[in-house]
């Protein structure tokens, strides 16, 4: 029975493809056409139907499905394209088979045709959906890793001074990472002063403040000091409204001001070159005058 159905499908493949493409044109996939060129849709549709047929011919033993679903993910097309395509294929195939067999009065035969077609269509559909979601979760987890790498960088700018710029939302996982990187970095770089820059943190609520206070306290325990910089005016107001006590460690409005303070704390100073040159010339002049 199954072989008979398979032969019918393969014999009528041209007809099925034609009807399938027509059906797909009428369905929602045409709506994507606003952003995607008609040509690209037609090409992908043809590829889709070829993948389905090559799977029927080889009884599901090809890697086409994997490649094709990866392509759909990369194109950014919704999962609905795949499910709709498979549903259209199912109804077109059943119609073609029934037309080929001719009149059937027996319900049993009709049911067995339905079952036979479902037995092909469903595994392909399931595999496509699995591959699609697998590809999708793969992308998400890759992005997570990429984000984590950006999460809490520690930049040694001078001997004894390091900067940690924080950008984006701080959640529990990130707070842990910040603490770890901060302490490891302080010890590795022999930092005396660490500047934590929160210019890029959109909201400082009690949890974020709590984590920053804890990190600063931990830094103090390993013998260094923290300066909190990049506090925007609106953040300063919300911190005061919340009643968060940041008296215990120095804060500055900008990284620039914080850096100057850090230099003072490490006993260094920024001296303008022209000024020092001027001083030198004056010294020379003075010494000449003395002679």
């Amino acid at each position: 029975m199954e072989k008979r159905l398979k032969n019918i499908i393969l014999e009528h493949s041209d007809e099925i493809i034609k009807k399938w493409l027509e059906k797909l044109d009428q369905s929602k996939i045409a709506e994507y056409g606003e952003t995607i060129s008609q040509e690209s849709i037609e090409q992908t549709n043809r590829e889709f139907v070829n993948v389905i047929f090559s799977n029927i011919e080889s009884d599901g033993g090809t890697d086409d499905l994997h490649e094709f679903s990866e392509k759909i993910v990369n194109l950014g097309w919704p999962l609905g394209y795949l499910t709709e395509g498979m549903q259209a294929f199912r109804s077109v195939t059943i119609k073609v088979i029934l037309e080929d067999i001719g009149e059937t009065n027996s319900n049993d035969e009709f049911l067995s045709i339905m079952e036979g077609v479902n037995d092909w269509v469903d595994p392909i559909k399931n595999r496509l959906i699995n591959e699609y979601s697998h590809n999708w979760t793969n992308i998400v987890s890759l992005q997570k890793v990429a984000l984590q790498e950006l999460s809490a960088p520690l930049i040694p700018v001078m001997e004894g001074i390091t900067v940690m710029p924080l950008v984006g939302t701080i959640d529990t996982d990130r707070a842990k990472l910040i603490m770890e990187n901060l302490l490891n970095g302080v010890i590795k770089n022999h930092a005396e002063v660490v500047l934590i820059d929160i210019t890029g943190v959109p909201v400082v609520d009690t949890m974020v403040a709590h984590h920053i206070i804890q990190a600063a306290e931990a830094v103090r325990l390993v013998g260094s000091q923290c300066i909190l910089v990049g506090i925007r005016p609106e953040i300063a107001q919300t911190i005061v409204n919340l009643g968060i006590d940041l008296r215990n460690f120095p804060t500055k409005s900008s990284l620039q001001k914080g850096f100057r303070t850090a230099l003072e704390m490490t006993g260094a100073k920024v001296v303008s070159e022209s000024e020092s040159e001027g001083d030198e010339i004056e010294n020379i002049l003075n010494s000449i005058e003395k002679e």
């Binding site: 959640d171 009690t206 709590h210 005016p233 409204n241 919340l242």
Partner: protein, 133 residues
């Protein structure tokens, strides 16, 4: 534009960011200043985090209201969690049952204009309003 503007379910930590972003956009659309936007975003952050931390699940609803001022943003944080045992204590600065700073609820009260809290062992509902002045 009146009544409920948006509804954000809170079930995972990332939802807090979503609620905050939605709230900030609505506050911006209603014409709040950037300082008030920061206040509103921070208050939402506290309320959403309380839901996530203590009740696990709940939702934040945004409504446009009329009253003391012609335009106000009402934020309703609702959950079916265990409730707050002692509301008066939870409103004292520095009181926390989770080892936090204990500035969340009293902080939200100071960040917003109106503050109303109802809690029983069937859940907690907090209404806060910021008026556009």
């Amino acid at each position: 534009m009146k009544g409920t503007l948006s509804n954000v379910p809170i079930a995972k930590e990332l939802d807090i960011v979503g609620a905050r972003q939605t709230g900030r956009n609505i506050a911006n659309d209603l014409g709040f200043s950037s300082v008030d936007q920061a206040r509103i975003a921070t208050a939402i952050s506290e309320l959403a985090r309380n839901i996530y931390l203590y009740a696990k699940k709940g939702e934040i609803t945004f409504q446009q209201v009329e009253g003391v001022a012609p335009v106000g943003l009402k934020i309703i944080a609702k959950d079916n969690g265990p409730g707050i045992k002692d509301i008066s204590k939870s409103m004292i600065d520095g009181y926390s049952t989770s080892g936090g700073l204990g500035a969340g609820l009293p902080g939200v009260k100071r960040l917003m204009d109106d503050f109303d809290i109802m809690s029983s062992d069937e859940g907690t509902t907090i209404h806060v309003i910021k008026w556009l002045r």
